[in-house]
Amino acid sequence: MPRPAAAVWTVQGTLLLVAASGIVGATSLGWGSGDAPGPGMFPGIASVLLLVFTLGGLVRQLRSTSRTPAPAAGDEAGEAGEGANPARLLAYAAALLLAAFTFESLGYPLAIALALMVMLVAGERVRLAKALVITLLAVVATWGLFAGLLDVPLPMVPPPLRGFF
């Protein structure tokens, strides 16, 4: 599968934006001088490096638009005989974001269980009953390992209910 040009443009655009923000942020922190570098000098240099080489990549990309694009490094979707699966990718991405943003508000067991169910049912098309068993086992096992054995204080219940438990 050829490397999707839209992904490349989006990433390069984002990198340019990050570099520009870095330069603005570094300037507000203060670059300092050669003999007394300010807190902004290193972020500034790093942002300039990012800007210059992303622009370099962009120019190279523009020059090579007429050529056949190569598969991305490490992009297994580019391997022979394999295609992309945007639906499953989307399910995984959504599940991860769901777990991340509800980890504290819903508590660890519920947030992780929801994310696992999304990955298994929507992403992997696993039957509901099987997905429920896998989720239950995974939540109990990780709770036992991290909270029980290693004393990691995982948020167990949503904050409003914490007084009751």
Partner: protein, 501 residues
């Protein structure tokens, strides 16, 4: 006391039942925390520090040392099987170790990783015993100026490990350096890019970045494959397929030797560390190899060298700790704290004043490494069994471990959000042909470079000429210049040869 007498005394201490027991506890715990993403050796040693207060100083140090190098091996297991570095120093192992697993050589990769770690452990124990005090003096020669030049050379070399283009690798170096500046500035204390979040004042944890860029991005890459739901990574079926063959040994012997030397040297330098050692070894092997194109696609040299290097570096770090009382990294700093609480002050006179502690600890590195090998080789089949878990179960489980591992770093829900965002960013970067490896390495080297550079400028009264006045730093800078201009020089040389012929 001669070396033989000293080693005899050391073995009489480290082979006592009590110390063997604490060594076993240490390496087992170390391997376990190395496997789990997030909970690294630093956190484990911090948690266990109060336990050591009631122990004999030598037993305490033997157990803590066991955790340290046990974690180096444990971190490689998930790197090889799942591309999730259990520990920061195992980032490089992901590159070729996981590629070997994808080719059905997971057992060989795990076996070679154990053997390389063992060989490096033995070689560096001998080196510590023979050249320890001399090598400690070398650490004195590396001040901030030399360290800044060395790290700059490392940053230039980072681009060589990349599988993408050089421009993209340099862009990733820039991004890595930029991400490394998040947090409080170490000179002024001013917050940089923290967006008012107190949790970001200490910066982004390296384990978060590694889990996001390698672990979660791999999960997303696997999810993006059509028809991957029932796919399994190829597994070895017989014991013989799990062990390295003669060709593997032939290809790995020299990388293990070189990796041990590089790791030992970088381990004794303050700020050197296991990650930098494994990365330096990887670059050296790629440069010296007759098959550089195989690197990143399952070259056994790319696994054996770095694995030897990270273990040798972990042990090399004991030289400045015991001989000079200077910790080379955060883990040895904790060990120094444990010793000082017990009333033992490491330094040049430790070997004379407290030979049982000094030589007992050094010889325990030998017994501990042997224990690790004996412990891990029979478990190879068990680790490889992990590959039998169907992909549709394994992928969500890897994601789950990354999320909980991220939380357990600082018990902060913000870290869970960060690891997911880094994972999504890592996947997008991979998709657009930006290799995340240079980003992660630059992220580690960035703060060391910034600190050393700013200290150097203070030493030189604001003049960067100080870098040229010191022979070691001047040589290292010349190497940087040569490496940066090498493509142009090579082209000019080729043109000159063509004109001449």
């Amino acid at each position: 006391m001669g070396v033989i007498d000293a080693l005899t005394l050391g073995f009489s201490v480290s082979l006592s039942w009590q110390n063997l027991y604490f060594c076993f506890i240490g390496v087992t715990l170390g391997t376990a925390v190395g496997v789990l993403p997030g909970l690294g050796p630093t956190a484990t040693i911090s948690l266990l520090l109060p336990l050591t207060f009631k122990m004999e100083p030598v037993s305490a140090l033997i157990m803590l040392a066991g955790i340290f190098y046990g974690a180096m091996y444990g971190g490689s297991i998930t790197s090889i099987l799942m591309r999730v570095p259990g520990e920061a120093a195992s980032v490089i192992t992901c590159l070729d170790g996981h590629a070997m697993a994808r080719k059905g050589r997971a057992g060989v990769a795990l076996g070679m990783s154990a053997f390389a770690s063992f060989a490096a452990g033995i070689l560096s124990t001998i080196a510590i015993a023979v050249v320890g005090p001399l090598a400690a003096q070398l650490a004195f020669a590396f001040g901030p100026v030399e360290r800044a030049a060395l790290v700059l050379l490392g940053l230039v070399m980072v681009t060589m490990i990349s599988t993408g283009s050089r421009a993209n690798a340099l862009a990733m170096v820039g991004l890595g350096l930029l991400l490394a500046t998040i947090g409080a500035d170490f000179v002024t204390g001013m917050d940089r890019f923290t967006f008012g979040r107190a949790e970001l004042s200490d910066g982004i944890n390296i384990a978060l970045l590694a889990m996001g860029m390698f672990g979660l991005s791999e999960v997303l890459a696997m999810a993006d494959k059509a028809g991957g739901a029932v796919r399994l990574l190829p597994q070895p079926k017989r014991l013989v397929e799990m062990l390295p063959n003669r060709e593997d040994w032939r290809r790995s012997a020299l990388p293990i030797g070189r990796g041990s030397a590089i790791g030992f040297f970088l381990g004794i330098l303050p700020g050197g560390g296991a990650l930098i050692a494994s990365f330096a070894s990887y670059i050296a092997e790629k440069k010296l190899s007759r098959r550089p194109q195989e690197f990143g696609h399952g070259a056994i040299e790319g696994l054996a060298g770095p694995e030897a290097a990270n273990n040798a570096a972990a042990q090399g770090a004991f030289i400045p700790l015991l001989s000079l009382g200077i910790p080379a990294n955060a883990i040895t700093a904790l060990m120094l704290g444990a010793l000082m609480i017990q009333g033992v002050t490491p330094g040049p006179k430790l070997a004379l004043d407290n030979p049982t502690l000094y030589w007992g600890t050094i010889t325990s590195l030998f017994t501990g490494n042997l224990m690790l090998l004996v412990l891990n080789l029979p478990l190879l089949w068990l680790f490889v069994m992990l590959l039998r878990i169907p992909q549709y179960v394994l992928s969500p489980l890897i994601a789950l471990f990354c999320l909980i591992g991220a939380f357990s770093l600082a018990n902060s829900p913000l870290d869970v959000v960060l690891v997911v965002l880094l994972g999504l960013a890592g996947y997008a970067l991979r998709k657009a042909d930006y290799d995340p490896a240079p980003l992660v390495i630059a992220f580690v080297l960035g703060p060391i470079f910034e600190k050393a550079f700013r200290q150097s400028l203070l030493l030189g009264y604001g003049s960067p000429r100080i870098f040229l006045e010191r022979p070691i730093s001047a040589t290292l800078l010349a190497c940087c210049l040569l490496m940066l201009s090498w493509p142009l020089l090579r082209r000019a040389l080729a043109a000159w040869r063509a004109r001449r012929s």
